[in-house]
Symmetry: C2
Amino acid sequence: MSTAASPTETETARLLRVLEAAGKRNTAQRVAICRALAAHPGHPTVAEVFASVREEFPMMSQATVYNTLETLRELGAIIQLDIANHDHIHYDLDVRPHVNVVCRHCENIADLHIESVTALIEEAGARSGFEINHTAGLILYGVCPECRSGFSDLGAEQSSGAEQSAGGRR
Amino acid sequence: MSTAASPTETETARLLRVLEAAGKRNTAQRVAICRALAAHPGHPTVAEVFASVREEFPMMSQATVYNTLETLRELGAIIQLDIANHDHIHYDLDVRPHVNVVCRHCENIADLHIESVTALIEEAGARSGFEINHTAGLILYGVCPECRSGFSDLGAEQSSGAEQSAGGRR
DNA sequence: ATCTCTGCAAACCATTTGCACGCTT
DNA sequence: AAGCGTGCAAATGGTTTGCAGAGAT
């Protein structure tokens, strides 16, 4: 391991580099948070990051996690995923413009790298006059293949039966 | 007024029609809520709808408003806008696939009808295997023209100064 | 008679906030 | 010495929930 590091290592380093470049202090807590983020495969929530970090730093407070994640988001190092009807905010380490598809039943989140997204964002900026910054995910909602086959009767959503399986409130 | 009604009337009728088609009872409260929705030009929040309806029905409870809006959303009659860092959920009467652009400073929401959105949604569905239902808005974030010129110094977002002007908690 | 819908009001709980202490610069 | 960052713990407040009564079918 000299030139190439593990993806996790690389990601951690990237996050820390962003913080450093912004003149932020790389405290032990922040390093731990960045590592926890990078270690999580999917789209970690604040709670998940908090839990991971707690193992190493039992004293760490939620506020620190919230602060750091918000800082990283402001700096564009991570993307915020505010998913309708989900209790927790998710984060996405993949900052390249892409689409997140969320299942309304099992709450699964899929990443979809579609070419035209970049063009869409550019066109949206041009047409609206907004300066678009991709610090939040582009989210689409639907029903994933597993849930579609599992609950064979409810094709779309207007079913009366079991809405949402895992999550809940808001 | 015989063949053509006002847009507001039309919209109200559309909402009621959807409810009726789904076998829901068109109670006085629901009619009032639909009217309030249709009367609101932009992207009304639950609180706004509630306030409007309260003028006519001082007894109406929040629960009823929440219930009805959720019902309308399930039926695809309105679109839910879960905007990051906004305190309230917004709704959009325009159910055609489109993009909503949100200003991170003034919380303004713009509608953008971009051709390629439909194609994007279809491609996302095809590639992910999800059955995508457009009951939530496709949201992009940025800084609107007014805020860009107003706060001339903060071009992007990583400024240290005043984040968010109007809103703020969650 | 049955079932849906509404009003009421308490409960929920993720997120936010204020302050004081500690550590870095 | 000055300031950023953290821990702590309480507050916040939009949204949800349970239940009983009213109204529709």
